[in-house]
Amino acid sequence: MNPSRSLSCILAIAANTVRESVRSKLLYGLLFFAVLMIGAGAVIATLSYVEGDRILQDVAMAAVRFFGVAIAIFVGIHLIHREVDRRTVYTILSKPLSRGEFLLGKFFGLVLTIWLQMAIMGAVFVAISLAVGAPLGPAHLAFFALTAVELALVVAIATFFSAFTTPVLAAFFTFGVWVLGHGSRDLRDIGAGADSRWFQWVTWLIHRVLPDLETFNLSSAAAHLLPLTASDWLLPILYGAGYLTLVLFAAVAVFERRDLR
């Protein structure tokens, strides 16, 4: 198949996925609570005599990350399963497009939807920061950029699990990877200090195999307005893109072999 036809198929699926995703009531519910939490940061900040701006932004950035991941997981896990369950996939895959193109279209559509939600959360964050006079800098931009990459990676992982299992299991596995991905550095350090070689090896393997999601966490640097070098944000983006590509390859390979009954 020629690349332009392939791209046009992926875009058609992606556009339809965006259209479908923005109709999700769950997505709006999560977005509402995210905006509420960002706003609540301003209220919580008034309870403190010191560093009110930092508390506001800490709470708001935590809300962006938590609700962003919640949206990515809860919408992502249904991505393929719903199409198979409702059998819409039958008519789509009877057209001249590969399963890989279909899956990539679904993935890009959902990533675009989540980035749109992030843009809304970012706009609320900026508006509240400006309203209370909290400082904003390039580190905040880097925080949102890396969170966007992390969420795309979480969507890829949800897509991978969604390609062969039920939404409940896909949610469980994706959430597990997200938790371990954020704790794998600590786990590795704990393992390094343990006496058991077996435990050392397992914790090292978990750190190496699972995505190191703490790489994308710049909330502390943003809250403290720390100066960032290009490598602080460029390397995580490259790492995220590379890992995401591998996960998507695996998802396509699994979905290609799936029997659609």
Binding site: M1, R5, S8, C9, A12, I13, N16, R19, E20, R23, R86, R87, T88, V89, Y90, T91, I92, L93, S94, K95, P96, L97, S98, D259, L260, R261
Partner: protein, 312 residues
Amino acid sequence: MSGREIVRVEGVVKDVRPGFGLRRKRVLHGIDFEVREGEIFGFVGPNGAGKTTTLKILMGLSRATAGRARVLGCDVRETAFRRHVGFLPENPYFYDYLTARETLQFYAKLCGMGRARRAERIEALLAQVGLSQAADARLRTFSKGMQQRVGIAQALVHDPDVVFLDEPMSGLDPIGRKEVRDLILRLREQGKTVFMNTHILHDVELVCDRVAIIVAGRIRHLGALQDFAGAGERQTDVLVAGLDADAGVLLEERFAAQLRGVGDRIEVRVPEKHTNDVLASLLEAGAQVVSLSPHRRSLEDLFLSAVEESQR
């Protein structure tokens, strides 16, 4: 049989696991058939016979455990041949937030059709399936029959050479069924090949050129529809009035006759070789012969005997 080979299925076996940890069950037992260019091929069988499984294998949605399936000379796992193939699944489901027109546009884009050709083709198809008036209504407001029409339109959107239809009359009222039958016949007139899964034998008799009867995952009969009509022992139907019970029992015992009440008359079906003897017996018993006609073995007879055979 004439024409280019369009579909070839050779020794296709399909095993499925009904649930996690359960033993595999064989749903297709090495089936073989072929479909030629320009014919309407009916794939007939009761529910659970393996019709939809076969169609899913042909569309590359499901994989055969063993055997080979080819469409237009290509392995069914390839995607390129689907440019020339249309597919209507059983009870199709579409994105209900799209209108009929948007749905067809979506599928046309997937087929790589240009904007101008898309617009022209979609208008023609909407008219053809009788949805011009409802073209801009969302599919969630559509009845089952209207959804079925959208399904047929999406299968034809890229003007394919081969059309696979899984229960195309499902959900349609008698007028809708007649329209779909006419549409299928028009497709044949245009030189297209139609593969139709169905268990409605009347529709098969009206439109199909060749038929395969599948029961419990095995092809029981395969051939031209007119060959089925002449298959088996020839029989005669004699319609009589005033036949008493004793004479009826005698006919059953002596001539293996089958008796059936038709209003206040009795239809006596006998092997053709006994027709004269049965007539003589009827007249002797004082019955009045109303009509006499050769019995044409219907597809239904063949279908039922295939099902009975599989249950033995």
